[in-house]
Symmetry: C2
Subunit: 446 residues, 2 copies
């Protein structure tokens, strides 16, 4: 008899796992239980969908339910919300919406990919109708519809990635945008010179910033701060997410970092035959060698692939994360990877940090822009621990050069001599990342 | 008494070495003997200087002779051509131009950075006045002056980097451009799909291509091929370079790969106290573990740094090259690193090659372009051996992600799970280079 696999959740990690299982075990029965309408969409692209009046939600869908069924042979059940896992019986219980009918699904192996939910800040007024979060596709559709129908003033509460991307989207739609951050600045954990450039970019693009002033409550017409009221027809809360791990916990599965589902390097949970993947699951931080919670699409897809392979009895290992992320912010590109100096210190390293400004092009090439590189190394091991870059051109993929070096555990001395490709339109003859490494070498002493 | 260092050649490698020596040994006497007018200019930027009527040659100069002397304390002697090295006496002989006066310079340690010279193809007519090469700054100035004065038809003989960059420059100046290549296509050693895109790019931008037809001679009005005559007021020969190693050889220094000066990993030649750096010196190929000749600015600068440090009694090691290079070709970016499948086979590997087309942006992001990735791996060790990328956006630095992986000796299995930063404007959630690695993993079998 063929094996039966159940996957809870049909977005990034869930569909990655299901697709992998299907490829490895073509005879298996693969059931995906998704509580929403849609599967496999690009959640990260929602700000760009919202930014364009002419865009259609279908552009975000990577794989339709029909194609998943017909072309990939995956038995997708939308509107099925799993309410409990019964490891002893190897079943899950699900409620079908809107009928409310209950179903039980037997499994041989289970993948939990329940994702994460927006973190509430417990502001009074969060339940008001003009308060939104941007997490799933229905919320993206809702926000776009509100902008389409003429909302002209928006407040973003929280200065993380989504908040910053939404500043650009909403400005593109002609809205007045106020970005309210709890800390002294958006992305305040980054190097201060990089943060300064983020602030200048927001200012230059007409985003009003309010930082470090407590929010008292959300009102029917906007947001009440300790010292003022900001009018807004739309209040977007972007305060990060927490893992959806309740049904796993109820089933007796061990939770790990920040309440995410605990997994080994095969993405298997504390219960044999049950795997977890994506924003509900923890990851190993390769630099600190500690478990961490990194709810990003790139990680979710890799988790899903590894979980699916192992569920289908292949052997795959998730090698961990180094917190690589990037962002387009109006005309600027921002990227970072690894640890900040502060995080490195917290993790027990002896961090040395440098910041340089170099150029996106060679001496003599006319069309070039400044590139800032902040690099953090460990004085003792001389390993590169982290990097942050910002600039108008040539940042997004350069940060991945450093991510690759950090993933390999390269020392700053090794890295500074790497044979990187160069041409005048793209870099100075010493690439900014190599210059940064040389400056860091010098500051560390050699 | 302070040490006296003599550096022969004042461009990339020579000035890098001199600057390093000066930093490490502030009391030393550092003499740079340069046969030309200029030192420390960006030779690679010359096509972009030629492309713009309004550009001035001063834009190419990184460090003027006056600044080198006054700000860096380096005793630069231009118009000094070294004619012989006398290791037993620790002196070099130089002729000063135009006076013809001879000078001898005593040294404690010597760095040879004599560069490379264009390879002659022995075409009859190479001596004609409208035949040029682009190697040093005076030649760049000369070519620009010819274009400024109205040359309207140009032939490029040779389809290497400079030839392709000059296609773009000369088209930008409104010239009719014919690119004549000996092999079947420009960059014919690359993957055939990549080459096809190079050809399409040239065609789309109005470059006439003639490939695989023997050149008989250069005439007073153009170039005579076996089957036709191509009219041209300017004929640029770009057939690669050979190392300027004659004075080193005459001094009894061992020559190495392709006639370049043989060096150890400290860039020291076979004669103790004499170092070599840049386009005149060989490099270790990290992938094949054999000596090679890679006359590129990036390599020259690194050579110079290492040679300078070791000459000044520091300890530095040149870790080798992996043949990373990149190119802007009209609206396209082209990059490659490591070995092609053919070169891998020649080096004794069992190469597996894949080619994919992915995208510069995520599903749902509007402004995206195809990116092609060719990846070569070794079946036995599963190491990544090489990669080639082409596309309109996001290629130049992505190739350096792979260069960093290859420099580290990563297997395709390791690399395919690397934590690379992602945002919809810059990449799909699985970066094209990760997709390529997965496809290569599969083709290798696992």
């Amino acid at each position: 008899m063929s094996d039966r696999y159940v996957v809870i959740g049909g977005v990034a990690a869930g569909m990655s796992a299901a697709s992998r299982i299907r490829k490895v075990d073509p005879k298996a029965e693969v059931i995906v239980l998704e509580k929403g309408d849609h599967i496999s969409y690009s959640a990260c692209s929602m700000p760009y969908y919202i930014a364009r009046p002419e865009s259609d939600v279908s552009e975000l869908v990577v794989l339709s339910v029909a194609d998943a069924k017909e072309k990939r042979g995956i038995d997708v059940r939308t509107h099925h919300e799993v309410t409990a896992i019964h490891p002893a019986q190897r079943t899950v219980s699900a409620v079908q919406h809107p009928s409310g009918r209950e179903h039980a699904f037997r499994y041989d192996r289970l993948v939990i990919a329940t994702g994460a939910a927006p973190r509430s800040m417990d502001y009074p007024g969060e339940e008001l109708p003009h308060v939104v979060v941007l997490r799933n596709l229905d919320q993206g559709i809702d926000i776009k519809r509100r902008i389409d129908s003429g909302v002209k003033k928006a407040v973003l509460l929280g200065g993380g990635y989504i908040g910053l991307e939404m500043c650009e989207s909403l400005r593109a739609r002609g809205a007045d945008v106020t970005l309210i951050t709890h800390r002294s600045a958006p992305m305040a954990h980054l190097n201060s010179d990089i943060v300064k450039t983020i602030i200048e970019t927001l200012d230059r693009n007409g985003v009003t910033r309010i930082s470090g002033i407590p929010v008292e409550r959300i009102t029917e017409t906007g947001v009440r701060l300790a010292d003022r009221h900001v009018d807004a027809g739309l209040v977007l809360i972007g305060k990060g997410v927490r893992p959806n791990a309740a049904i796993a916990e109820s089933a007796g599965i061990r939770l790990g970092a920040e309440g995410a589902i605990g997994v080994d390097s095969r993405m298997e949970t504390s219960i044999s035959g049950i795997f977890a993947a994506g924003d509900c699951a923890e990851s190993l931080d390769r630099i600190t060698d500690k478990k961490t919670f990194v709810p990003l699409g790139t990680v979710a897809n890799k988790h899903g692939r590894v979980a699916g392979l192992n569920a289908a009895k292949e052997t795959a290992r998730f090698p961990g994360v180094i917190n690589s992320a990037q962002l387009k912010l109006f005309e600027m590109e921002l990227g970072h990877t690894g640890l900040t100096a502060e995080a490195a210190e917290d993790a027990g390293f002896d961090p040395v940090e440098i910041h340089i400004t170099s150029s996106s092009g060679a001496h003599g090439y006319p069309d070039r822009y400044p590139i800032q590189v902040c690099m953090v190394g460990d004085r003792k091991s001389r390993r590169i621990l982290g990097a942050q870059l910002i600039g108008q051109k040539g940042v997004a993929h350069r940060v991945n050069v450093l991510a690759t070096a950090i993933f390999n555990g390269n020392t700053v001395d090794e890295f500074s001599m790497f044979d990187l490709a160069y041409a005048p339109p793209f870099a100075p003859v010493w690439d900014p990342v190599l210059v940064a490494a040389q400056v860091l070498e010098k500051k560390m002493g050699r």
